[in-house]
Amino acid sequence: VSVPPPTPLPHAPKLTGRAPRDDPALARQLAAIVGDRRVLRRPGELRSYESDGLPGYQQRPSLAVFPGTRDETIAVVRLLADWGVPFVPRGAGTGLSGGALADDVVLLGLHRLSRIISVDADNARAVVEPGVVNSTLTRAVAPFGLHYAPDPSSQTACTIGGNVAENAGGPHCLKYGVTVNHVLAATVLLPSGEVVSLGNAAGESDGYDLLGAFVGSEGCFGVALDVTVSLARLPEAVRTLLADFTTVLDAAEAVSAIIASGILPAALELMDAATIQAVEASIYAAGYPVDAAAILLIELDGAAAGLDDDAARVERFCLDARARGVRVAADATERAKLWQGRKKAFGAMGRMSSHLVVQDAVVPRTRLPEILAEIERIGAAHGVSVCNVFHAGDGNLHPNIAYDASNADEARRVHDAMSQVMEACIAAGGTITGEHGVGLDKLPYMDRLFSPATLDAMCALRSVFDPDRRANPGKVVPVHSCREWHAAPSTRHA
């Protein structure tokens, strides 16, 4: 790591009665860096940036700026530091926790930094800019027999920079690990405008794991200018199984049996009846059995030798858990179809109502059956219909509710039901987010999960990277829980 001295407190130019972020002079100076077309100020222009993947929230940025190169990004962030203006980094805006919402602050869009800088096939790694789309990277390295393993459902749109900010997961993270397990190094632009390199792309790291702390920091520690990721080999063989159950609990029992057996599937996904029906009624219809109470989509991959033995054992575990049948995808086309139904399940549910709330709680895997029963009970008590489609192998639940946010009564019931679901998951020894991040959406639960001293430590860590707390303000840790933030600046740790 090499870092120049810490930033002085922001020295904003003299104010003209406006908040500095609304000052036309700031817009002019930003435009001088990125060009007029890349600075948006008018409400109509900003409409697309008023929301991200979290429904029911709209916040308008004061302006949006879209640098196209690394140097422009550095110049923009330095200018914002000079002005003392807060900013919210944004990749593709697909995040589901409201992390990219900018409430009257500057929105820093990074999707134009979309170069794959290098691919080192021998060492199975690539260096990419933050705006590279997840599936674009996987396609680019496929000719070398490689792929980028973390595969969020939004992978055809979401960016690596956003994935790093959220420590994103995906179905195949069960075997391959989440984003943090695949990031070797990053060049990071701190909110002060200083550039530091974290991690070591060519060897081992020593000292504090600052890279580990940066991944998943939800844009509060700065933005990545480039990221070195490790790539996984394409497996020699793949088996994709679809098991069909008459109760969700039977499917959950099969999950437990598979996990306990020592077989580590690449992915182990559960979809309930409501999800299956939504998918089958959409253009993503995958041929799922519409009368099933639940299906498991199980993928095994690796060396061809022994894979069929594992598949046979998995099939046996499903049948022992009273599966009606287990189907094995015959070829790559059928496999792709089965997966498309899973990956587009959120889109399919989106057709049913104007809004869709997607939750992301995690429970210990042995608690899955009871928590699924509890979720069903909570949904019924509030008169809402919960669809479950989730990473069963990880215990990472995605209870979803399609609803109409303009109906105040329905919106309140949905909110109350989701709060109770979160409370139930916490009570079961779980957590409030497995891969989507805290953002704005899960802030209210942070006090339930962590002690004041722990939240204070998180605040202190954030202050080391961003002493002025201008990067993605108000996200991740509730401001009221930061003891030191109530103190005068001169007594701050950093």
Partner: protein, 385 residues
């Protein structure tokens, strides 16, 4: 005179730290005490003994997670998990008598890191007591978790300087159906032989649990013959392992050996060794291997390499060097690597020349945030206040 302060609870640790803070006393954190010669000299006034803070506190086999107090030894965890057919896939060099707290604090790992990763990939949550005596519980017991900033990863490899680890939750794995160890004799210790082994590993469709190159000197000591070997630990079902064995035969003469090889290797370092870990891009591992192997043998030591990770570890007994620091420096100086050079153990007189990995402003800021008075293991990372 150092005072020993035994701690058998988190509250006791917090109390010791608050007392230390009130009196401005520095603390040396001690687990099983087996690795005290690792890292830099740590001139603290009192020792905090954490071995009494032991025991598995929560283990639900179906979840494949385990929570233990930090002074629990790796062998105690092994005894708890083995009856369930599970294991904690961390095998740091030294012995299984080391504690889970020290393993995480020092981010120590061994041959299994080739497939399962390092402690940062196993750690799900932890409880620690900061240098201000605050108890911090972060992460959790679930295998996927992005709630809040990642304090556990920060604690991992911090050598106790950001807090005393008191409880740790780790991910476990189910033991493979078949776990077989093979050794392949390599033609020599050259860069080319190493590169061939790496290319074979990279091209093979299966991932061995471990793939460790051993120099001839350590191979000899472990009774594996006179030549350098590639030691492979194959795991999976019978069909997979059998097929893997057939492919390994392409590399040279193969024989199956007892799995105790891995424990023997972990314990093979004479106390008072100099240990240097070199890192490079995996494709460049050959030249590093040749240089490290030659120097280690010349100095009466040995080298081994976790091939897939691009890491070569060089072990040289200090006694062999007749306390001739000039010669030792000459050897160390020649051990350069494009990627990284990490000193695990050095004679205390040599540390002053090694730059601290925690001297940059962010690391210093992190230390200030968690241990503002530098009470915990002062100097162990070479940092200055």
């Amino acid at each position: 005179m150092t005072t020993m302060l035994g701690c058998d609870s988190t509250a006791a640790v917090a109390e010791r730290i608050r007392e230390a803070r009130a009196t401005g006393t520095t603390l040396r954190l001690v687990g099983a005490g087996g690795w005290l010669d690792a890292g830099r000299p740590c001139p603290a006034e009192h020792r905090v003994e954490l071995r009494p803070l032991a025991g598995v506190t929560e283990y639900e086999a179906g979840d494949l997670t385990l929570t233990a107090r930090a002074g629990t030894t790796l062998s105690e965890i092994e005894r708890a998990t083995a009856p369930e057919g599970q294991w904690l896939t961390l095998d740091p060099f030294g012995s299984a008598d080391g504690t889970i707290g020290a393993t995480v604090a020092t981010a120590s790992h061994g041959p299994l890191s080739s497939s399962y990763g390092t402690p940062r990939d196993h750690l799900l949550g932890c409880e620690s007591v900061s240098g201000t005596g605050d108890v911090i519980r972060s992460g959790g017991r679930v295998v996927k978790n992005v709630a809040g900033f990642d304090l556990p990863r920060l604690m991992c490899g911090a050598w106790g300087t950001l807090g005393v680890l008191t409880e740790i939750t780790v991910r476990l794995r189910a033991r493979p159906e078949v776990d077989r160890t093979l050794v392949v004799a390599l033609r020599d210790e050259s860069a080319g032989a190493c590169a061939d082994a790496w290319r074979w590993l990279r091209a093979s469709p299966f991932t061995p649990l471990a793939a460790e190159l051993l120099s001839a000197s350590i191979a000899r000591r472990l009774g594996l013959g006179e030549r350098a070997v590639l030691a492979l630990r194959l795991g999976g079902n019978e069909a997979l392992v059998r097929s893997a064995e057939r492919t390994v035969a392409e590399l040279g003469d193969v024989r199956t050996v007892a799995g105790s090889l891995w424990d023997d290797l972990r314990r093979s370092e004479p106390s008072g060794s100099v240990v240097i870990r070199l890192g490079a891009l995996p494709a460049d591992i050959g030249s590093l291997w040749a240089a490290a192997g030659t120097l280690a043998e010349r100095a009466g030591g040995f080298a081994h390499s976790t091939l897939g990770r691009g890491v070569v570890r060089c072990v040289v007994p200090i006694a062999e060097l007749e306390e001739d620091n000039g010669r030792l420096w000459g050897i160390i100086g020649q051990l350069q690597a494009a990627g990284s050079r990490i000193f695990e153990r050095l004679p205390s007189s040599l540390w002053s020349g090694i730059p601290s990995p925690a001297s940059d402003p962010i690391s210093r800021g992190v230390r200030r945030a968690f241990d503002p008075d530098h009470l915990l293991n002062p100097g162990i990372l070479g940092e200055s206040a």
